[in-house]
Symmetry: C2
Subunit: 487 residues, 2 copies
Amino acid sequence: ENNASPSDGVFQKKAGMPARRSQHLLTDGYTNARLAHCEDSVKGRFDAILPTLKRVAGLSYGPDFVESAQRIARQTLDFDLSEELLDKAWVGGADMKALYAQCSFSALQAAAAQFVEDLNQQLETVEDTRNFFLDCGFHAVDISPCADGRLKGLTRYILRLPLSSFTRRKAYAGALFDVETDVHHWEETELRRFREGVPTPPESGTRYLKIAVYHTSSSDPSHQGCAAHGSNEHAALDGALERLNQFREAIENTFCCGASTDILLIGVDTDSDAIKVHVPDSKGDLSQHRVVDNAQLYRDTINLSADQARVAIYEAISKPNQQSPGWGAGEGQPHEGMRKLIANLLINNLSQIEYVEDLYDGCYPDIGHAERYISVGDGFDEVQMRNIAYYAHLHTLEEGVADMDVGIKIFTGLNVTRGLPIPVAIHYRYNAKVPGSRERTVVKAKRVEAAIRERYADLDGKGLLVCHLSVQDRPTGSAIETVGASA
Amino acid sequence: ENNASPSDGVFQKKAGMPARRSQHLLTDGYTNARLAHCEDSVKGRFDAILPTLKRVAGLSYGPDFVESAQRIARQTLDFDLSEELLDKAWVGGADMKALYAQCSFSALQAAAAQFVEDLNQQLETVEDTRNFFLDCGFHAVDISPCADGRLKGLTRYILRLPLSSFTRRKAYAGALFDVETDVHHWEETELRRFREGVPTPPESGTRYLKIAVYHTSSSDPSHQGCAAHGSNEHAALDGALERLNQFREAIENTFCCGASTDILLIGVDTDSDAIKVHVPDSKGDLSQHRVVDNAQLYRDTINLSADQARVAIYEAISKPNQQSPGWGAGEGQPHEGMRKLIANLLINNLSQIEYVEDLYDGCYPDIGHAERYISVGDGFDEVQMRNIAYYAHLHTLEEGVADMDVGIKIFTGLNVTRGLPIPVAIHYRYNAKVPGSRERTVVKAKRVEAAIRERYADLDGKGLLVCHLSVQDRPTGSAIETVGASA
Ligand SMILES: [Zn+2]
Ligand SMILES: [Zn+2]
Ligand SMILES: [Zn+2]
Ligand SMILES: [Zn+2]
């Protein structure tokens, strides 16, 4: 008996979801608590900025102004206010726009530091995950989600994978990843296997796995879906699937004999973080309709024992889309390692479904935009949290101008209407092994900043556009180096 | 006795150069004649455009206007005028700016076709050259000259190497090539060796050779040198050398054990096309001062027998920079294959020195700018001819805007002052093996066109900016596909 009676009041959390008497037995309550604490403290830092600055604004200027302001800041923020900005306050008062920007970037840096610390505590999990992927027959995992801010927590929260240099993540608007760049990454990976046998030698039979992740909004699918595809779920799915097939074909065309890759397509409901996994057939082909819906699986398995639930998950993978099996027909089952991987991703995601269930009654309150800053460039990969940044992945504004225009529009609504500037964090990765790479990357960051200031000169002229420039070496968890900050 | 007496009049071609009684015995008169014919016909096609159009402008409009115009064109050009443009002439006369642009692009296409035909006649030479490089111990040769139009004939004319997919050419302003892109090409090359043993298996001990080419102007070094380095020869040399060292170091840092490459630096005097070759030492290191000057070598060997000249060349390589040997001191000789390669490049270049000597008295009349169009993007690799295009290698105008501004400035002088539009040929290569690559490349060409039209809206509004868009598959000699032409 799965459904509670209507009179069950207190357990009936949301229409359509079964009442829950206990947690799902496959979920990880300990990690959920840790992640909740992390979300709390990161978002809390941003949320404390405005109240703090309002109190500072209430101080009258006097000999102890700077000290009083810092005292207030220390009570509510965990970083100092800029001494330089406070020192200037005696002429015409403190520059609140500049302080707001400084606080936003300080909160961002604190978040990054927190995630890096978190990473360092996960070293064992990283090694386990790496071995798990190898066990499943994958020597590399390359994930391209949509750049939408609501997917920013994909690996840490939604899929519960530790960040590491083993998995590669690169977000693109609409999950429309760059096939040429990915072929290049495939080449690098293969060359390392041939030259060094790392992580597996070429004759081992392991495979390169490319995953694309699209998204939808179950409660408002035609407005809060993927903006890059006009909130059309079918377009989002088809677009990502086409790129996956192009990637696989490009490698088969370019490198003969055995140069094969596995592809996998995942959908995320950004209201609940529940995933859908498109199950490959024995030939590695995907279908729009051969899919396991983890929200459904959560409901179906919530009252089962852990072992029963595991069996049910494997059954769902071997018989995906039971509602209309004809549509998603494929040629047989995926290989064993792929089935194991998918089962693991589904189980991991059950914890996240429960996380959203527990904290937000199964549906985030911010189903739309509530970002704290615009992230331009390679993005802060380590900062894995939903809806904290609007992300514009671009190497020149010329190529990414459509994404950037959307970001500026969103933040005109969020910030400018309240007189607050738009914080733009321009961040690029360099490769310390390539001489001159850091210098060239700094030049690139400055070029992009100049292009942004030129295009949005109107906002810039009013002090409503504040840029922060930083660079970072390639390895996951490297130090973030500030190379420019200017109001 | 090397110098002719002052009374030798007719043989005394240029002060400082020895009078010549006969050709240098190591030069290739047959190829010189073929190349002269090629230069004549390609430049002739461009030079015939204005006189032809002036005659067409003299025709009065009548029922046989189109036919008469085409008859004139057929006499002097080897392509037709646009019927569409001629048909419109009854209202307000023929659009001469549009016809000029159409003729320029037609001349360019004819030149490209001619070079492709020339390529097809060189198939044996290509195979010979490939074997020669392999003999010298090189499995790949990657050349980055400065993008200056005066180096556009580098491989075909100055170095006398046949174009092929074996050698890779990519021009950059100031020869400041992109280290990351080149590391990527190195990776592709190595992966193919590991996977397929092509062109040599990894255990063969052959090497990857990276060559950078800077330039100077011997007759006006401080004005007609490399614009990207402010016509400062030392800066041009140092800039290219730094990139070469960065490239070598990047590969050694990234790929351990035996991942070594050879580097070579060449200077070109764009007045005479004479080269200077910087000779590596036994460790592969280069020096600004350890250099063989081929103009000097030409003078020193002009009266020797072929065998004596060859010996003299090898001696120069083993003792470069005899004038001040201390400055360019290195640790021993380069390996035998490298010496063989350098000797061959020097001998090849003797023919080009003689070519310029014969046709232009040892110094081109157009030591400055006399380009026919602006080439944007990947450039027409097959069109290997000096001073025919101003080249702006760019993938976004944002990155390449400085180069493009210079080009527009040059053509404002060359064309706009005479009321003629600036022909801009936007050309990109795609990879037919990567699905969707051609479509994405066409989109890129159109994006760059839009950015150019926006930046130079002033010229565009007056019809003084005409763009031609084309794409081409990767292999050398592939068809050039027009994907857009608009006045
Ligand atoms: Zn590649
Ligand atoms: Zn999206
Ligand atoms: Zn690479
Ligand atoms: Zn130059």
